[in-house]
């Protein structure tokens, strides 16, 4: 029996009114060429969000009447299971929009259950934050908001056009943890490279070095390429697992993604796939090198102007054994 490809999943979380549906619509209407399934969860008997989703061509599933993280978990498991079993319309990409009052760590946990681990891969967990409203949250709502931030690979700080620089700084100082990978935007305008990274990676998409011409901050999706720099590291010597983990953990917060293959001393004969999204790092050993010589090749994407190639080179050379 041939194994079916792993389906990447993007989980969009964020407080009520943060702009999740706007972001979702932006993804769905963009030219990604993927057969997507969108799962929308609303807290309440009527599923408003599913009605607001603009796409007419994608599969939209509603998980209504309950908070997805606790009461609808079995429903989520069942719907995911059914989607994976559908040989004809099996999606190439799944986006789950959690309700504004969900703790997304529970959903992320569900996706990591053994029965899904091989079939689904969390590509990214984006937590959308309303820069204007967020600072007013108190008590249990503030705790829930912090839990949503905690699980985020990338925090999308939305509606930045409505607040001053001082307000933004105050929000960051109060709410964000030091290692947070943060994207500031308005109207949910997030680079698709960060949202749909694995899908493109698996489809053979390769990162191109960004031209060295300076660009001003982008305002539309077509300008996102101007926002990033890339850097790569390669070697034919094995790396220490512990040192590699430490080097990846120490990446500057402006580096959003890294991916590639590694030769790791502790996993001899295994080809280890490295995947960094925002705050999350995964290193997964796969079958061998199929006769080829082992090597390491890692590619990094970071905010334009933030990559210090010499420092990174030193850091990763330090991992070689």
């Amino acid at each position: 029996m041939s194994r079916q490809a792993t389906i990447p999943v993007t989980l969009v979380s964020g407080f009520l009114g943060a702009g999740k549906t706007t972001l979702l619509n932006r993804i769905l209407t963009s030219d990604h060429g993927l057969r997507m399934a969108v799962m929308v969860n609303d807290f309440g008997a009527i599923n408003i969000d599913s009605q607001l989703i603009v796409s007419q061509t994608q599969t939209t599933l509603s998980l209504a009447n309950g908070c997805i993280c606790c009461t609808v978990e079995s429903d989520l498991i069942e719907q995911l299971g059914r989607m994976l079993d559908d040989r004809v319309n099996r999606p190439e990409y799944i986006i789950i929009e959690a309700s504004g009052v969900s703790n997304p760590s529970k959903i992320a946990n569900t996706l990591r259950y053994p029965q899904f681990r091989e079939a689904l891969a969390i590509d990214s967990i984006l937590t959308v934050v309303d820069a204007e409203q967020f600072g007013d949250l108190q008590g249990e709502m503030a705790q829930l908001a912090m839990e949503q931030l905690d699980v985020a690979d990338i925090i999308v700080l939305n509606k930045t056009d409505r607040v001053s620089r001082e307000q933004l700084d105050a929000l960051k100082a109060r709410w964000l943890y030091p290692s947070a990978r943060l994207l500031e935007c308005a109207h949910g305008d997030v680079p698709l490279e960060l949202v749909l990274g694995v899908g493109r990676h698996q489809a053979g998409w390769r990162l191109r070095p960004v031209p060295a011409t300076a660009g001003k901050l982008a305002t539309g999706p077509e300008d996102h390429s101007q926002l990033f720099d890339t850097w790569s590291f390669s070697s034919e010597r094995p790396l220490s697992l512990k040192a590699l983990r430490a080097a990846l953990a120490a990446l500057p917060v402006e580096i959003y993604r890294a991916k590639g293959v590694c030769q790791i001393a502790e996993a001899p004969g295994k080809r280890c796939i490295v995947h960094v999204v925002g705050n999350r790092t995964e290193i997964k050993p796969e079958d061998g090198w199929e006769g080829g010589a082992p090597y390491t090749q890692l590619i990094f994407i970071g905010r334009r102007g933030s990559i210090d190639g010499a420092a990174l080179q030193a850091s990763f050379e330090g991992c070689l054994v």
Partner: protein, 578 residues
């Protein structure tokens, strides 16, 4: 206490002579179809020896008879709560586990709390409790895992739940004691977080995986279970309950119940159902208990001749097992936790052993399978006399309504689910067609079946009077939301019978309890209001129980009417406030 040794048998006559206790001048609703109303009762040796007018008692009053003038107060038989879990609600809080006690404890505060607890509880025992918060670790630039806990306390097993109860962080010692390593399989409803390269557990156990730790830990301590049950029965006696079922027990829970029974504090008849599954807490030696050790606990107040199964899930999670697909679905009927063959074999076997099966069935497909299994048990065993119990019965197929009577199965409902409230509306997920048939209490009664109520605490309040009122009104007792939910109300007379005689039937003791009749156990309650003279809505739920008698023993005495006498109450004063 002398009642506990003054046992009767065929050739040992009961006490002769005058009554121990006479209650006169009351408005007594007996639930005895031959004579619904009486004015006075006489009690001797724990039983009613006379039920009638006040003047009828004169010949039974001797020099040592205590007489209480009820001054026209309303009296009825004691209540039966046929499904509740005081231990699940109360014992964890009484267990003396580590409680960090802060909303957002920093890693440093968690560390200090662990060290303080370990110092205060020296030895090599478990440090178990709550909680840590993942984002405060992130804010501190730390990763919550076994390495961090090992750096705090390496020599003793440590297990700390996170605030949302989504995962547990354990140290290396805890993993070792639980036998969890790279080879351990993930459980079905959860997983062991692992190093992606080596497969070694990181120390974070998600959802069902932390049951592996609970299985390795000592069970909930006896003192916590005893306190939970003690306060639970106190509360229940104070609300007029004389018979109850504690649905889900294990050996430790039975030991706790036996201890409070032996010191005379078990002021409610308890049927305890042994758990067949480990889904709430680990149940060790369940088969030994079911095979016969259950008899060790038996007394007039306690029996463990029941077993609890979780046949299906819950409606909130769409895992109730339905007879057809869930709304909006083509094939998903919900989750049945056991195969129908497993269910049938167990029901037949338990029935043959005289053990009552209490089956959690929220979906109409689950109860259909349960009734099929009971039918098979009746076919193979004949009528064993064991009345099995369909717990929750949230939605039932119309075709099954007559089968409760035919098969002698009790239909148990939680009436707090059926008055308008956000709790009720959140549960209304079966689809309009099925909701019209949900909570079909009246349907079971009209088809000659026996229906009972359970509070299902802590799912809903342990106060039985709230559901009592909802049976009669189907409206919100507190006036928070107007209108009715789904289903039909029943009459006050029917509701009283449900709360009393039907409960006794469900425990298999209706021939000796459940109504106020000569020869039956002297169980009654005295209220502050006559239920037949008040508007049910807004009044029944806050009825105050002033006196509760079980087997002639005053178990609750709100105003100390028997204080200082030979009939001084088991409980009086302020009720525990849950």
């Amino acid at each position: 206490m002398d009642q506990h040794t003054d046992y009767r048998s065929s050739n040992v006559p009961g006490p002769a002579g005058a009554a121990d206790l006479v209650l006169t001048n009351g408005r007594i609703y007996t639930v005895d179809a031959a004579n619904y109303w009486a004015e006075a009762v006489a009690i001797r040796g724990g039983r009613f020896i006379a039920v009638g007018g006040s003047a009828d008692m004169d010949g039974l009053i001797g020099p040592r008879t205590q007489v209480l003038d009820l001054k026209g107060r309303f009296v009825m038989p004691g209540l039966y709560d046929m499904h509740t879990h005081p231990d699940l609600k109360l014992a964890p809080g009484y267990a003396g586990y580590l409680e960090v006690g802060l909303e957002d404890p920093t890693p440093e505060q968690v560390r200090q709390a662990i060290l303080d607890y370990a110092a205060a509880h020296p030895g090599d025992g478990w440090v178990y409790g709550q909680y840590f918060v993942r984002y405060t670790f992130k804010q501190a630039g730390l990763v919550p895992d076994r390495a961090w806990l090992d750096s705090v306390l390496p020599d003793r097993p440590v297990a700390i739940l996170d605030r949302s109860w989504g995962c547990m962080m354990v140290n290396s010692k805890a993993l070792e004691l639980a036998g969890i390593d790279a080879e351990t399989l993930d459980p079905r409803h959860g997983y062991i977080e692992r190093d992606s390269v080596t497969g070694e557990p990181t120390g974070i156990l998600v959802d069902g995986a932390y049951a592996l730790i609970h299985a390795a830990m000592p069970p909930t301590p006896q003192h916590a279970l005893k306190r939970a049950y003690r306060e639970g029965v106190w509360f229940q006696s104070g609300h007029g309950v004389v018979g109850t079922k504690y649905v889900h027990v294990c050996e430790h829970r039975l030991n706790a119940l036996k201890s409070i029974d032996q010191v005379g504090e078990l002021s409610v008849r308890v049927e305890a159902a042994i758990s067949w599954q480990d889904d709430i807490f680990p149940v060790k030696r369940r088969w030994e208990l079911l095979a016969g050790e259950r008899h060790y606990y038996r007394s007039a107040r306690l029996n463990a001749n029941a077993v609890k199964f979780h046949f299906d899930g819950t409606h909130e999670s769409r895992s109730s097992y339905l007879s057809s697909a869930w709304p909006g679905d083509e094939s998903w009927r919900g989750h049945l936790n056991m195969t129908p063959e497993h269910i049938t074999d167990m029901v037949v076997d338990m029935d043959r052993r005289g053990i009552r099966v209490i089956a959690h069935c929220t979906g109409d497909g689950a109860s259909d399978l349960f009734l099929d299994a009971v039918a098979e048990a009746r076919r193979r065993n004949g009528y064993s006399g064991v009345r099995h119990q369909c717990a929750h019965s949230t939605t039932l197929l119309d075709a099954n309504l007559p089968r409760f009577a035919e098969l002698n199965v009790t239909a148990e409902f939680s009436p707090v689910g059926w008055f308008p409230s956000s709790f009720a509306y959140a549960r209304a997920v079966f689809g309009e067609d099925r909701m019209q048939r949900a909570y079909n209490f009246k349907g079971v009664l009209e088809h000659g079946g026996v229906a009972v109520m359970g509070t299902d605490w802590p799912v809903s309040s342990i106060n039985p009077w709230i559901g009592f009122e909802a049976m009669v009104t189907r409206e919100n007792p507190f006036g928070e939301e107007a209108g009715c939910f789904y289903g039909q109300p029943i009459s006050l007379e029917q509701a009283i019978r449900v709360m009393t005689l039907n409960g006794a039937w469900c425990m298999g003791i209706e021939d000796k309890a459940g109504s106020i009749e000569v020869g039956k156990s002297a169980d009654l309650i005295v209220l502050d209001r006559n239920l037949f003279e008040v508007e049910p809505k807004g009044n029944i739920h806050n009825a105050q129980v002033q006196l509760t008698l079980l087997e002639g023993e005053v178990t609750w005495d709100r105003h100390g009417e028997f204080a200082g006498t030979a009939h001084a109450a088991t409980w009086q004063g302020e009720l525990p406030n849950f």
